[in-house]
Symmetry: C2
């Protein structure tokens, strides 16, 4: 029997919007937050979709998120801005920041906006694709609480620290969005649920030894007692772990260092304040030449990648964003799959807030 | 007995400059190229130092490099430029491009310059550190001939495709410089020389099977018959190989797609033309706030990383650029180690060009 229920997109959207209004967000704000969440489900990225409402509920009710927060631009030039988010939902400060970056890019060629004291903002690609919809290159990064150990270290110091980039191209947008760790924490949770040992090279325990025990690693990350996940490239330097470590530092540079916010190792250290930081860049690639020619160059290169020779046992090479675009096409006028456990959680939250629960 | 000779830096510099003048470069050009090469040796990056003179000799004498090339700016805005390198040495178009990016950053906050039809430019960090010396963030990327297979592929389609970023900080500059592949081709050459099998997950052969045979992989890369090195994260998706693959594509986007140059899979397909492309960005981080505060934020974060808990058996956590800075400090007023084979190669080249050879 399937663990998933099929929920009409339209009903999920109405439910999300009603829920956020019940927390005190305006109708417009509720619409924006819901759009970010549902896009993840439409793309097949369950971990960042409405499954996340449980964690958001905790964050809002514990005052990590302030539903009445007003953001402020604390520094600004023609091509840059720093936004103090004052504990807003990440989806709100994130959308505001990327829209500002887009406006600057249209006027001056590029716009870079960094955001401090925000919260989890959902899928990074939501923001980069906002820029791509305006025929710009979009870049976004976010830090998180520390989950990743530096090379030769045993204490989590950098976050999942995703990097995302979207570039218009045809027939699929190029949309890269990935953590700078070997895997995000969610993957460890899947191994824990299935009671399976982690692959070697993925994690190190609080005593500084390589570990395959998903449950122990997750617990020590949450308790902040040491231990964590390896950077992209794994533990040590053999497979390039120092590269993933450096990319994670670069994410903290653009999100936290530059905005005078909290680096990952200081994020989520208080009960009522996460301090998560983001970075957004919109770039008008027309500053380098004819846009149609450049976009065609990209489309041609991506097609050459897809057409290149396959590995044994493989029938298809994907370019980044292709799978998500295809999943969305299948789902957009129909249903999204929702885990039965998530469904029960949503029912509980709806009851607590007195929101009508009618998803099926 | 050591395989290395100790060569005074001053003598190595004079020799390099005389050699490039003998190829027809001006005194200034020869100085610049030599400076890039020697910086690699001073940093302990032998593969990109004067060991490379043999390959440069072949490239210059086969007309892949044109010693009399004049570069042209073919597109320009306040914050951007595209340079047609006309087969110049990469060190020359690279230095010119980063200097132009720095000039634009000082005037407008940021400068982005992309270069097409260039050649190998040495260590990417040379250029990012030019920006950092001006108290700016420097970014650089370069494509190369294809050596890396996309996820689920078996044909090399992207290059070593290095990404570099330098940010001023104290007591060490933060200077990241790494390929987006699991290892560069040079590492496979070391395994071949030592007759050792490659680690699993590093390479795939021309028949599309995972391979540990360094010699066979190198031969098929050179012959362009299929096969190649894995992206950062390895073959398949288990350890995040699709992330390294995507980063490699991003490097081709900024270097080749945007400049209307050749993507990695088309680089080095002609005897007298490589078509290598580069990207340079200089960013005045003062557009985000007080520079001293931001720089102090970075220095503090890096120190926290270095001070964090070590893995079992490890006594030190490095931040990127620290090792190179320390190696340079040891060598700058003394000697660089030069492999005896390299020494003999240099002697041959000197004889061919009638350049005085007096390195010891």
């Amino acid at each position: 029997m399937s663990q998933y229920l099929q929920i009409p997109v339209s009903k999920a959207r109405i439910f999300c919007e009603e829920l956020f209004k019940a927390y005190g967000f305006s109708a417009d704000e509720s619409k924006t937050i819901s759009d970010v969440l549902l896009k993840a489900d439409l793309y097949g990225i369950e971990s960042h979709g409405i499954m996340r409402l449980g964690r958001y509920h905790d964050e809002i009710t514990s005052s990590q998120v302030d539903a009445s927060a007003k953001t402020q631009i604390v520094h600004e030039t023609l091509i840059s801005a720093v936004i103090e988010a004052n504990k807003s939902m990440g989806q709100l400060s994130g959308t505001e920041a990327m829209k500002l970056a887009v406006k600057k890019a249209k006027a001056a060629g590029c716009g870079m906006v960094t955001v401090r004291n925000s919260n989890h903002y959902g899928i990074a690609r939501y923001y980069t694709e906002l820029a791509a919809q305006e025929d710009l290159i979009g870049i976004s990064m976010t830090n998180t609480e520390a989950i990743c150990v530096p090379t030769f270290g045993s204490q989590a110091m950098t976050g999942t620290n995703a990097m995302a980039l979207a570039m218009p191209s045809s027939p699929f947008i190029f949309s890269y969005d990935a953590s700078t760790t070997v895997v995000p924490r969610g993957t460890l949770e899947v191994f824990r649920k299935n009671n399976k040992p982690l692959p070697e090279q993925w994690a190190i325990d609080e005593n500084g030894k390589a570990s395959t025990d998903a449950a122990a690693i997750i617990e020590s990350i949450i308790a902040k007692t040491g231990g964590g996940i390896a950077p992209l490239g794994g533990l040590g330097v053999l497979n390039g772990g120092h590269k993933g470590y450096g990319l994670g530092v670069i994410v903290d540079l653009f999100t936290a260092v530059i905005s005078c916010g909290l680096t990952s190792n200081h994020v989520n250290r208080k009960k009522d304040h996460t301090g998560i930081c983001h970075y957004f860049m919109a770039l008008d690639y027309g500053i380098f030449g004819d846009k149609k020619t450049i976009k065609d160059n990209m489309s041609k290169f991506l097609q050459e990648l897809r057409d290149s020779k396959k590995a044994e046992g493989q029938s298809r090479i994907y370019t980044h964003g292709e799978k998500e675009a295809q999943t969305m096409e299948q789902r957009i006028n129909g249903d999204i799959p929702v885990n039965k456990k998530t469904y029960e959680e949503l029912k509980d939250i709806a009851a607590k807030l007195g929101v009508n629960f009618n998803l099926l």
